[in-house]
């Protein structure tokens, strides 16, 4: 516990020092790095929640986000409302969609080996993305919004400021989740289930119900994020796939069940990627940062735990 704290503090201060250096050399690197990190963290948090409490790797995570984005898109174009407003109905619909997906499929494989859940959710991902492809075609869609181009100029540097909404969103998700898990009865029960499902069952917690609620809640967060997603990105049926992988990797970096560290992992990744991409002709190698970091973090954690 004590050591963990030291590592956390060391990590945070290293990130801070790096940030200050960046801020002096090239402020845009920091700006874009934080914005990237916000997107990573916001989409990884619901996966961290599901992985930490329900203990399943949901390979349909990104596809659910994609479905949410399409839902939000159609709500916006049908009712002529802004995506940020549509986040509310989308979140609610996704809560129930998550509930349905969980109850009809995933819940039945909780007893089966871990791998079965993996393939099952892979099947769910396939059904979701291919259904959307049938309904909406592969043609990318994007709502044109003026405010996403909002810009700030400091000295002679101009940068987009709208994207700061993502770090804010991620912080909001984290705050809500932590409040939920620490302060509410349901949340406390859920934490207990996450740590020890068998024990929780013995003390009378309804584990199945907890799983259902947590999965639905995560789906709701995915839904809200989906609405924010369409403000910045084009959507098409395959758009979600990469986010499953990225979220999974971030959760693995953060450590399962450690929600706040998801933000830390996202920051490290966002800043590192932003740094590499600012180097001329470095963009081709930026995915290397992602995968290299994952391996380094996972390996160093494994060495540390061995000692």
């Amino acid at each position: 516990m004590n050591k963990k704290k030291i590592y956390t503090i060391a990590g945070i201060s290293a990130a801070l020092i790096l940030s200050v250096i960046l801020l002096i050399i090239r402020p845009t690197i920091l700006v874009y790095g934080i914005q990237r990190a916000g997107i990573y963290a916001a989409i990884a948090l619901p996966m961290a929640l599901v992985l930490g409490i329900v203990h399943i790797v949901n390979l349909a995570h990104g596809e659910m986000m994609m479905v949410a984005a399409y839902l939000s898109y159609f709500i916006c174009t049908t009712f002529g409302i802004d995506p940020l407003v549509a986040a509310i109905p989308t979140g609610i619909i996704m809560f129930f969609l998550g509930l349905i997906i969980f109850k009809t499929s995933i819940a039945h494989t909780l007893e089966a080996p871990e791998l079965n859940q993996l393939i099952l959710t892979f099947g769910v991902a396939m059904v979701l993305s291919q259904s959307v492809n049938l309904i909406a075609t592969s043609q990318p869609r994007k709502i044109s919004l003026d405010y996403v181009s909002a810009s700030a100029t400091i000295g002679d540097v101009s940068f987009g400021i709208y994207d700061f909404i993502f770090p804010v969103l991620a912080a909001l998700f984290l705050a809500v989740l932590i409040y939920f898990l620490k302060k509410t009865r349901l949340g406390k029960a859920a934490s207990a289930v996450g740590q020890n499902p068998r024990g929780a069952r013995i003390v009378g917690i309804n584990v199945d119900l907890t799983y259902t609620i947590i999965f639905s809640l995560a789906s709701m967060i995915i839904g809200v994020f989906g609405s924010f997603f369409i403000t910045k990105f084009s959507i098409f049926p395959a758009v979600g796939g990469t986010f499953t992988m990225k979220s999974f990797a971030l959760v693995a970096m953060a450590g399962i069940g450690n929600l706040p560290m998801v933000i830390g992992a996202s920051l490290v990744l966002g800043l590192a990627e932003s740094l590499v991409m600012s180097v001329p002709h470095g963009a081709g190698w930026s995915p290397m940062i992602f995968f290299g970091l994952i391996i380094i973090v996972i390996l160093s954690r494994s060495f540390r735990s061995k000692q």
Binding site: Q139, P140, G160, K232, F233
Partner: protein
């Protein structure tokens, strides 16, 4: 051995054998008036392949409504390539040996095509390809393949075409300056090939470039590359990515306050709603075709009207007129030859002057490697008032270029 076991074994054997018999027997039943068969391979899950296949079917319907080809009905069998080389190659085998088609049409994605080329070479049927820009694919086809007809321009054709276009434009409009270029290219084969081609072709100019990860492949953040471009301060900025990148690039360019005098987008297709955005105004683009060409080409108008009448949607990608071309050009050659024999059709195709729904009239001639290349030219277009207007070649021009690009 238990009864259940043997029953199960029998069932499995029956299942497997029936699977193979079904697949191999289907299509063997012969009809009295044997149709002329076209085999099409497109990725049906993608809008390009979907619309190409629909446009191809349109020609077939038109031919049959007019009594078929040489008095024989025409049939089109389309198989999904699933954007997968193995599936694409299996489709060739199936069309050749099970469906026994007379002609191959189709194509979208160089990667899939690379996997299909060995199979196509085995059958050497007249093949009219609508996709694959990578010159690697051209090398794979190789020299002396008379049966192989390639409609889509190769990557270097496209590059040459731009050089020609911009030289023309700069000569005609003296205020337009094209000395300093910056190319933002997606890191896949499509973008990298564009960058390599542009670098060699515009070697007498100042040129720089930077890769980005396309949204289509999991990216979608262009701030770094835009920042680099802005620091470079080019006369011409081109991005070579996919449709999914189109609007977000414009939004992020605005956010970083990047306004080059010429802002060019070069994706293979545009999102249908791109024109609705205010940010689209005066964006220049490369393409083979745009709906506005119907203003200057009667053939294009006829195609577009027929397509809309049949499917109730506007063709959104140039793959639609290309798909149409692939069938119609063979049909015309068959009529001219009076035969479906490969040799005769190849001869007729080599001689054909075809007025295409993409605007220009094409004929086949050798390119760097292959013998029969169809289209070579790209068009330079510009978004004006929500429509793609042609600004070059001047013969198809529907509008004058707006310059410089402003917001």
């Amino acid at each position: 051995m238990s009864k259940k076991l043997s029953a199960l074994t029998m069932m499995l054997i029956v299942l497997f054998s029936s699977v193979f018999f079904l697949t191999s027997c289907k299509g063997k039943e012969e009809k009295p008036a044997e149709p002329i068969k076209f085999g099409g391979i497109w990725p049906l899950g993608d809008i390009t392949g979907d619309q190409a296949a629909k446009a191809a079917q349109l020609v077939v319907d038109e031919l049959n409504a007019n009594g078929g080809l040489m008095g024989r009905p025409v049939e089109l069998i389309v198989i999904d390539s699933e954007l997968n080389p193995e599936k694409g190659a299996a489709a060739v085998e199936r069309l050749a040996t099970v469906e026994k088609v007379d002609f191959f049409v189709g194509g979208m994605s160089s990667g899939v095509h690379l996997g299909q080329i060995p199979a196509l070479k085995k059958y050497k049927k007249v093949t009219m390809w609508t996709g694959a820009a990578s010159s690697t694919a051209e090398t794979a086809v190789g020299e002396g393949q008379d049966w192989y007809f390639h409609l889509h321009p190769w990557d270097y054709n496209q590059g040459n075409s731009y050089v020609e276009g911009w030289d023309d434009i700069a000569a005609k409009f003296s205020n337009i300056s094209i000395d300093r270029w910056f190319l933002a290219y997606e890191e896949g084969p499509f973008g990298s090939a564009s960058f390599a081609a542009t670098q060699t072709l515009f070697s007498d100019m100042e040129i720089d470039g930077e890769a980005f990860q396309s949204a289509a492949l999991g990216g979608g953040d262009y701030t770094a590359v835009l920042q680099r471009a802005k620091d470079y301060n080019p006369d011409v900025f081109i991005w070579a990515g996919y449709a999914a990148d189109a609007l977000p690039i414009m939004e992020q360019a605005k956010a970083v306050n990047f306004t080059p005098p010429l802002f060019i987008g070069a994706p293979p297709g545009w999102p249908s709603d791109f024109g609705d955005s205010a940010l689209a105004e005066n964006v220049t683009l490369y393409g083979m075709w745009a709906p506005s060409i119907s203003k200057v080409s009667a053939v294009s108008k006829k195609f577009q009207d027929a397509y809309e009448a049949k499917y109730g949607e506007t063709p959104a990608t140039y793959f639609a007129p290309l798909g149409y071309t692939s069938i119609e050009i063979i049909a015309k050659a068959v009529e001219a030859a009076g035969s479906v024999e490969t040799e005769a059709v190849i001869k007729a195709l080599k001689a054909i002057q075809y007025e295409s729904p993409l605007g220009e009239t094409i004929s086949f001639s050798p390119s760097n490697v292959i013998s029969n290349q169809g289209f070579r030219n790209q068009k330079i277009l510009q978004w004006q008032n929500g429509n793609q207007e042609v600004i070059w070649p001047f013969e198809f021009a529907t509008a004058e270029p707006a310059y410089p690009f402003t917001r």
